[in-house]
């Protein structure tokens, strides 16, 4: 089926079968490798992207469902002022180890700060409860998000 949507700010048109997951379209058909595949069950959050500005697990979204909508990955937010500060905080606070959860984690954190620029630690934890990290223990990530909120 023909699906038109916006990817990282650019209009895009794809042909995809009805059973194509957005995750696979992005990675395999469109070369957007920043989106990671960890579980395909909506559990790990490594595949998180923004759909109309809201974080979703792209492994559970079928391509037909994004018709007319905006999909955003970290690639599309590279120069975004909030993301620049968030990214800097992640780097400075040691919030990145293996890096596999990082793009998804940044997407969820970014969405939080856009909606709630001064979150509490509990709000931060709640915003990333769907992004599993096995390396950092979340401590540095939570610290980085709070740090970024001070910089914004």
């Amino acid at each position: 089926m023909n699906v038109k949507f916006v990817l990282n700010g650019k209009d895009i048109e794809v042909e995809a079968p009805g059973n194509r997951a957005l995750l696979d379209l992005l990675r395999d058909d469109l070369g957007v490798k920043s989106v990671k595949k960890g579980c395909e069950n909506g559990e790990c959050g490594a595949c998180t992207v923004l759909l109309d500005g809201a974080p979703v697990t792209s492994c559970l979204v079928l391509v037909p469902q994004v018709e007319g909508r905006a999909v955003t990955t970290v690639d599309g937010l590279e120069d975004d002022p909030f993301m620049v500060k968030l990214r800097q905080a992640f780097l400075e606070d040691g919030a990145i180890q293996c890096g596999f959860c990082t793009p998804g984690m940044l997407i969820s954190s970014y969405a939080l700060l856009k909606e709630n620029p001064k979150p509490t630690a509990d709000e931060v934890k709640k915003a990333i409860e769907g992004n599993l990290c096995r390396c950092t223990g979340y401590v540095a990530i939570i610290k980085a998000i709070l740090h970024a909120s001070e910089m914004i």
Partner: protein, 770 residues
């Protein structure tokens, strides 16, 4: 060794250039931008999809494998079985008990029988489903007791015992006769999963007729090379293995690296096309090697003054279908069986047995995690019987310089466990928070856990590492180590060590990803050896290169070598401020003059001697130590445990990068909470029943406790770069008993098993277990 003298000089510096300072990881920006490439990110369109056909029986003979229907599926290129393996159909790690593709029998549900190769995933799936295997089921041994029972079917020729271990030190019966209190308990730990977020994967590309390149997620590129060459029947130099950035490993990819890579490589070579094997989460959780389940029986005596007099330990280790890492796991458990305490009389018997279940493999903390859970929980019971404070009991027995480990190894330096225990006791205000605090249905408790963990390989087996550094013409450096970046930052730690020694800015470094074609074998990234051994090889290379740089600088400055100073990527003369050149200029001079701009470094720790009969000797070159205090709040009505606060302490030898160390400690805390409270792989008749992240529950962000500032104790190991010791494992080991002891304090229930789920704790409270 001249190195020791230079090391002393380096350690003696009042101020380090980069060592000891936290830096922004050199690989972090790429990861944050989503540009960092993991194995799957390299796979090109048109790559053959490889998937495995797995045994559906826990134990059976294979009568026939019929691939004819599978081969007819459109898009299927080939189906290979054991008969198609060009080289050795054997991939066992320590013991040759593990077929690469089972051809005679299957040993667990998940044992690979064939690989299907197809143009796309759907064809591969259809083909996999179409392969027909005719089994002749055999009785399955599903528990330790079943497999040891008289008349039990043999899983492997030679019986169901894979390996045994022992320690005989002193006279335990005499020791028990001197004890005032004697406690005997059995502790059990289950299968647990690494749950790394990146599933296992390998991508193989054939180059010409006799070469293949494999890019994969792994921890030991040279082990992978060896196993791939074995399976292909090729020489080592026909296989090139590259470790791509890996999305978490924790030991698991040490084992899956060779298994997955060899399958992808075999497909690629036979088909003459790039081929990739990508695991899905089900396969990762149900079929890849796990933390070994163990049953540890402890009988320990302590005298009226709180001095441990004797310990008798029986360890039963459940290997699952293959021995794999069992010898190392069991030996580690055996020689750490007293915990970090000196016990004069030690008797240990260890038995690793085969069962028809998924097999065990490397996992952070190794068998020391189960041992310390048992021993430290036991210590709190002993303390309770004696009427002594648990910290006090530990301090009376703790290992210090001059004391001996379970295997009678004399610790002559680098022992910081006492400082760790005192540190967390003070930081947590131990005496004060030991007063039980009840608030409605909730009760708070605190506990302490400890760890000691030998670095590198067990029992005198030789270990060594190697690295190389190249100074490029423009003053930049290329650092090469085959120690793998798994997220822990070890190669970055190496680069810091090199930067410190050669006086270069960190920005001048590029750390190459491991490539067996171009690098020295640093040996595996496990056993907490990556920094201690790998980093010391780096230091050796750096010292040599420094010498070469200093030689030329001295010529250029017309001064003595010891007057040359290297720092911030500039060479200067200490006596004449005008004499200064950039590393770029120095490098150019070196190249013109034919001075070697590169260096190969090698390190082997001092030789160790070990007696397998008594189990006594020098087990490890060095030990890391940790202590953790933990405060919990238990909801007595539901059995739920909330971890309120953690106080971590670790003897790191020398802190190369405090931010990286904290990263390891915090990660270990979260992972340890999962291990202590949430995680277990459950099986029914040999089948994993929770093969996904919904039902194999690991901690989320909301389970994160408050974590106090890490107490870093520095007791340098005199043979390693700057005295550094590996930090990845002791924290995870010590937190598990810290949690179980805190629960004991809060509720009076001492658990002999993990995970301590809410349901189990609630049931224990109901029963009045004390």
């Amino acid at each position: 060794m001249e190195y020791d003298k230079i090391l002393e000089d380096l350690l003696g510096r009042k101020e380090f250039l980069v060592v000891g300072k936290s830096i922004i990881r050199t690989d972090a920006l790429d990861k944050a931008l989503g540009r960092a490439r993991f194995t799957s990110d390299y796979i090109q369109p048109g790559t053959v999809v490889v998937k495995e056909v797995y045994s559906t029986h826990p134990h059976a003979l294979i009568k026939r494998v019929d691939t004819s229907a599978a081969l007819k599926v459109p898009g299927v290129l080939a189906v290979y079985t054991g008969a198609d393996v060009p080289g050795m159909n054997q991939i066992g790690y320590a013991i040759p008990d593990q077929p690469f593709l089972c051809d005679e029998k299957v040993h667990f549900i998940g044992d690979p029988i064939a690989i299907v190769c197809a143009e796309d995933e759907y064809a591969a799936q259809e083909a996999r489903d179409a392969v027909v295997v005719d089994y002749d089921p055999l009785p399955a041994n599903l528990t330790i007791d079943e497999t040891l029972a008289k008349g039990a079917v043999h899983i492997h020729e030679g019986g169901n015992i894979a390996i045994e271990s022992r320690i005989r030190k002193g006279d335990v019966e005499k020791g028990f006769s001197e004890a005032k209190v004697e406690i005997e308990e059995t502790y059990e730990t289950p299968y647990q999963d690494h749950a790394y977020i990146e599933p296992d994967v390998a991508y193989a590309v054939p180059e010409g007729a006799g070469k293949v390149t494999v890019i994969g997620a792994m921890q030991s590129p040279f082990l992978v090379r060896e196993k791939v060459a074995d399976v292909l029947g090729w020489k080592l130099n026909q296989v090139r293995v590259i470790q791509a950035l890996t999305g978490g490993a924790f030991g698991g990819k040490d084992d899956t690296g060779p298994l997955v890579s060899a399958k992808a490589a075999m497909a690629a070579v036979k088909l003459g096309r790039p081929a990739a094997l990508v695991y899905d989460r089900f396969e990762v959780t149900a079929y890849t090697p796990k933390r070994f389940p163990s049953r540890i029986h402890l009988r320990t005596g302590v005298d009226k003054d709180g001095m441990l007099t004797a310990t008798k330990v029986d360890i039963k280790l459940d290997c699952g279908a293959f021995a794999n890492r069992a010898p190392y796991w069991l030996w580690r458990q055996t020689v750490h069986a007293t915990g970090p305490y000196e016990v004069p009389n030690v008797h240990v018997d260890g038995t690793a047995v085969y069962t028809n279940k998924v097999f065990g493999g490397s996992y952070r903390g190794f068998g020391d995690l189960a041992v310390h859970f048992a021993v430290d929980s036991h210590m709190d019971r002993l303390a309770n019987e004696l009427g002594m404070d648990p910290v006090e009991l530990r301090l009376r027995n703790v290992l210090t310089v001059g004391k001996r480990t379970a295997s009678d190894q004399l610790l002559d330096h680098s022992v910081g466990i006492e400082e760790c225990i005192r540190g967390v006791a003070e930081a947590s205000d131990w005496a004060k928070i030991r007063e039980p605090r009840r608030n409605g249905s909730k009760v708070r408790g605190v506990g302490i856990g400890t760890a000691h963990h030998g670095i590198s390989t067990s029992r005198g087996a030789p270990d060594w590492s190697a690295a190389s550094v190249i100074l490029n013409e423009d003053g930049s450096f290329t650092y090469r180590t085959s120690i793998c970046e798994l997220g822990q930052g070890t190669p970055i730690g190496h680069a810091k060590i090199v930067a410190e020694i050669v006086g270069a800015k960190m920005e001048a470094f590029h750390i190459e990803i491991p490539d067996t074609d171009t690098m020295a074998n640093a040996r595996p990234t496990h056993g907490s050896r990556g920094l201690t051994l790998g980093g010391t090889a780096a230091a050796d290379a750096a010292l040599k290169l420094r010498g070469q740089m200093v030689n030329i600088a001295a010529i250029l400055f017309e001064c003595e070598k010891d007057r040359v100073d290297l720092r911030d990527s500039v060479a200067s003369c200490k006596d004449d401020a005008s004499k200064t050149i950039s590393f770029k200029e120095l490098a150019r001079e070196m190249y013109i003059r034919g001075a070697n701009p590169a260096a190969y470094g090698f390190f082997t720790p001092p030789r160790r001697f070990f007696d397998p009969e008594t189990g006594l000797g020098v087990s490890y070159p060095a030990y890391t130590f940790a202590a953790t205090a933990c405060e919990v709040e238990v909801d007595l009505e539901t059995g739920q445990v909330e971890i309120l606060k953690i106080w971590p302490a670790m003897d790191v030898g020398k802190a190369i990068d405090p931010l990286l160390i904290d990263g390891q400690i915090h990660g270990a805390i979260s992972h340890g909470i999962g291990i202590a409270l949430m995680e277990s792989i459950r099986l029914d008749a040999g089948e994993v029943v929770n093969p996904n992240l919904t039902d194999y529950v690991i901690p989320s962000s909301m389970d994160t406790p408050e974590v106090a500032e890490s107490i870093l104790v520095e007791k340098p190991y005199r043979h390693s770069a700057f005295g550094a010791k590996g930090v990845g494992e002791p924290a995870i080991i010590s937190i598990v008993p810290a949690i179980s002891n805190a629960i004991y304090h809060a509720t009076g229930v001492s658990f002999n098993t993990i995970p301590i789920t809410a349901e189990r704790l609630h049931a224990a409270l109901r029963r009045g277990d004390r």
